[in-house]
């Protein structure tokens, strides 16, 4: 590690106590347009299924309810190559895809036409469905394998055959992205979309729209406060499994040893510290079979694993300690270490720093649980704050 990198890391670590330099807005605080969770139904897919992703979000930036606009991108779009053409059944139309598997301008136009929408999106959730093709493209680590010819699919291979690189491929994680915009927040995008629908804009514009969305440069031109973009992986199993993954189920929140069921109204005194515990159903932690591939890739040994759960807490006021799920992004921009000192002892616990209020105030509290196979569940609670 170079000395520059070391000092960068050191400065990251010493920043907060020396100068109070870290932006102080806690990650648990939702004060803008923000996603809370996305859950796939079913949580584990197979080729041929219809996948539904339900996105949960809050529009805390709005002073009054408002409708939103969105663009849904059900698969990762890499520059010059559309990994999910099969998913969108665009590959069946030769004019939509080149021989190399790249999306043509016409294909891009069709993609945008199918998946962009305007209006009628009201918090707190948005469910979007799409087909998972039987000929799902083989993905490795989010990038296309170099030696996989276009059109080659895992579904066409024997389930036990090794994938390129000598590893047995049991599943692929594809991703979906959702861009939410406040009214008028995505003017460039939706103007293009409207034009596409009207057939007035050359298909090249759609290609540019997708490229911009993929590279992120489009986001740079938007009003960030009223735009939020999130990605969520979903798992497509490529081998037959006796039991597919099920999402964990939150039963409620334990407060002073009393279980608060979903929908209960919580009440806290201003400025206090409260310990909250998430309770899940007994069968939320599943066991599943996977295989351990030998070093040379010639054999695989079945092993039984147990799921691990992670919890995340959010609120529209105050601060909740996060026991898991945060990690530095990169370099000095990775965010400061959590220096609240309010660390719950168990992963399912959190310490809620109740905000100080001078008059009765209502806020929302969210808890999200997720297993390591991308199954998820969430609950929300209205919270009444008493001065």
């Amino acid at each position: 590690m170079s000395r520059v990198a070391v000092v960068g890391a050191l400065s990251l670590a010493v920043c907060s106590p020396f100068s109070g330099c870290s932006p102080s807005r806690p990650s648990s605080l939702i004060d803008d347009l923000r996603f809370v969770a996305a859950v796939g139904y079913p949580p584990e897919l197979a080729p041929g299924d219809t996948a539904t992703l339900r996105w949960e979000f809050l529009d805390a930036a709005a002073t009054s309810p408002r409708t939103l606009e969105y663009l849904f991108l059900p698969c990762t779009l890499l520059p010059g190559l559309s990994d999910c053409l099969e998913a969108l059944e665009l590959a069946d139309e030769p004019s939509y895809v080149t021989e190399e598997g790249a999306l043509t301008e016409a294909g891009a136009a069709e993609y945008v036409r199918r998946y962009s929408q305007r209006g009628d999106v009201v918090p707190p959730s948005l469910a979007l469905s799409f087909p998972v093709p039987r000929s799902f493209a083989l993905l490795l680590g989010g990038s296309p394998p170099m030696d996989t010819p276009p059109g080659a699919t895992r579904a066409a291979m024997p389930a036990s055959s090794p994938a390129p690189g000598g590893m047995t491929q049991e599943y692929v994680d594809a991703s979906a992205s959702l861009l939410l915009c406040a009214p008028g927040g995505c003017p460039m995008l939706l103007a293009e979309v409207d034009a596409l629908r009207a057939g007035e804009t050359p298909a090249r514009a759609a290609r540019e729209v997708l490229d911009d969305l993929s590279s992120g440069s489009y986001l740079a031109d938007l009003e960030r406060a009223d735009v939020s973009r999130a990605t969520r992986s979903y798992r497509v199993s490529l081998v037959d499994q006796a039991v597919r993954n099920q999402s964990p189920v939150l039963m409620g929140v334990l407060l002073d040893e009393l279980l608060q069921p979903p929908g209960a109204i919580l009440e806290f005194s201003s400025g206090t510290l409260v310990l909250l515990e998430a309770q899940v159903s007994e069968d939320s932690v599943e066991q599943y079979e996977t295989s351990l591939t030998s070093d040379d890739g010639s054999s695989a040994t079945p092993v039984i694993e147990e799921e691990t759960l992670t919890y995340r807490w959010y609120s529209t006021g105050g601060e909740l300690s996060q026991s898991a799920g945060r990690r530095p992004g990169r370099g000095p921009g990775g965010g400061p270490p959590d220096l609240t000192g309010l660390t719950a002892e168990e992963p399912h616990q959190t310490v809620f720093s109740v905000p100080t209020v001078t008059q009765p105030t209502d806020i929302l509290l969210y808890v999200v649980v997720q297993d390591n196979r991308l199954g998820a569940h969430w609950l929300s609670y209205p919270v009444h704050l008493v001065p």
Binding site: R3, A13, A220, R326, G329, G333, G341
Partner: protein, 831 residues
Amino acid sequence: MRNHPSGHRLGLGILAAMLLLPPSTAVGEQDSASPIGQEDPAGSVGDRASHPPTTTVPPRLIEFVEAKYPEEALAAGLEGRVLLRLEIDAAGRVIDVTVLDPAGHGFEAAASDAARAFRFSPARAGDTPVSATLEYLYSFTLTRSADSTEVGEERRQAPSEAPSEAPPEGQAKESPDVQPSPTGSSPGSVIEVTDSIGAAPSVTRSVSMEEVRMVPGTFGDAVRVVQNLPGTARTPFGLGVILVRGTGPNDSGTYLNGMEVPILFHFGGLISVFNSSVLERVDYLPGGYSARLGRHLGGAIELATRTTLPEALTSYADVNLMDSSAYLEGLAAETLGYSIALRRSYLDVVAAPFLSNMSGIQFQLPRYWDGQIKLDYHPTSRDRLQLMLFASDDRFAVLGETSEGESGEEAQETALSTTTTALKMHAQWLHTEGSTFSHRLTLQLGPDYQGTILPFASIQSSPVYAALRSDISWKPAEALLLYAGLDLQVTRFNVDLEFEFPDESGEATVETISLNDWGIAPAIYAEIDYTWRDRFTVVPGLRLEPLVIPGQYSKSRADPRLSARLRLGESTWMKAAIGRYTQFPEPYQMLDGIGNPALDPSYSIQTSIGLNYAFKPELKLELVGYYNDLRDLVVNSSNEPIMSESDGGDSSLNLPFTNDEMGRSYGMEFLLRRASRDGLFGWISYTLSRSERLNSNTEAWDLYTLDQTHNLTLVAGVRLSDRWALSSRFRYVTGAPYTPVEGASQDLDDNTWVPIDGEANSARNDSFHALDLRVERTWIQKHWKLDLYLDVQNVYNRQNPEFTYYSFDYRETQVISGLPFLPVLGLKGTF
């Protein structure tokens, strides 16, 4: 961009006041005569910056003759200073006197008459007396005692001997600036900071130890003075690296007598790891330097240890709020000298009460120490042997939350720690035969350790280096010098990488990679130095740069280099250089098992042309333009590691380093310097530069991360009397470029935010500027001297931006400022 106009005005105002200040307000209490440093543009022989000096000693004044004060001047109450050039023969007699800088009113005649009667101990090349040329400043000063109005008493003081060595006969010797200390020469009283283009035509900027000590913020560290000269970029947070002419922090080499040293500065760049008292020279070589040095595509800084024997038992102790140091030198026998230097910081202890129990995180501030033990043995007049042991250690840690271990004991998690340690044995043997031949044999051996431990990863490198140099210089004719040498380096790499990543079940898996290989780099070089009619010098050279790691890597490159200098007039000369400079990749970048063994070495083509002009012997201007073409730079071409499979079926992790990056840097360097005279010195250093890297995706030239368009440093110091000294430094540097984050995408899988970068390095931090001041009070007694100093950095507490932090979702930013107002009080006693 936000500036502080009031801060600018304050800084410039103080500087202007100091520059306009009379050099002395206490008439008659300063030195009246001293030899003056000179840069001889002829530079006909040898470059002390690039080749080992031969063992010659300068003439020493042994019989001073007092001049008659000119009656006209005395009647008018005038003072004057006359700069003379003295030709001294091999017997030590002054055979010719030339007035270089007259003062009128009869001063030059009186000074010339007196100087002709001086007697010197002859200069010697080895054990042979030789003739020499010396510049000498004869000052006429009227003395007014505090309780008397008597006028007309002259007070003169013989010059101190320059401890540095003189060049051989015929060499363009520039007598270093000597600012005699009140108690005579102290250890390392002269440090020459040298800038060289090519081998022979050296351009030396002599900086006396007095100046070094007076530059605020350097704390008497000669190496840090280099950071105030043209061509060097300011490093963020005082990062302990040297950035030269738009190249990266690892692109410039740091050497001790030609041997690479692993670390030059302690952590944070507070101070160098070598005590200046054991050094004779600091050679700053920003580009176009000799084939004698290599393995880096940027600049070079070479430290040269003192090889002269101490004249007497001398010691000092320096205590300030950051660290303490002590130094002792003396003679154990007539031909055996010793030097011992120790330094230890205690900033960690001093600041600990302010940092304890801070939000559950405990910080251990940087702690460093270093030490040098040096023995010099002169068995004959032609041989010098030196043995030195040096060590340095830097540690820094951030400790996280305390947790209870399985056995009940409390353990504190290490959030981050870094350690850099070096232990070296360094030996050299210098042999000369008159002024025509010299041979220096240098050996260095010892281990290093560099470790960085993070919660999720650690990298520990503990290489063992053995290096051998053999440098020969031969002068077969008056105008011809030949240099050749072997520069052998054998390295045992020991690198351990350990990192954690979650497996499919979310459990942490620890992956360990160990690299244990050895490599050999037997470089050889040759250089010819030819001077035509004392006007034109040309130095072609060639360096062969191989690197072999048995069974893995074997590549070799030839680096041709050429430099030249042309005298245009008595005070004007041009210089130019062009050369190739090869740099091999780091071990972790090219070793199989983690890196890419197919990597080629990076290289630069350095070109420069410059002009030097001397307005007066003490006032000189340097102007240099340069262009560096950087090729085959090593870059991590992808964020994704590559899993490779060997023939035996073993998988390994390879980081996809490639040679796909190229860069360029170009600029202009300006230095106007007033050498120390009458206690007044200063310089204006300005660099206009641009450093870029070619973006392979966009085919556009992006700014390099460490690019600095403007870099201005003003230094001024004045010794008001032998009791008080005042100095200041003002710096202005363009803010560092950075890539702005235009937005972020929320990853709901693990609740992180992925930044969306804007155009590469398309934004800049606000500019850096700061004013530093230093005040020193000196008490002088017969056998000791005491200095009390106050060194204040960032006087007007400018909040200079260094880094930008983002909130977790990249919607909020916070700029981190660098060094705040920092007063350091210290005490130094010399005995």
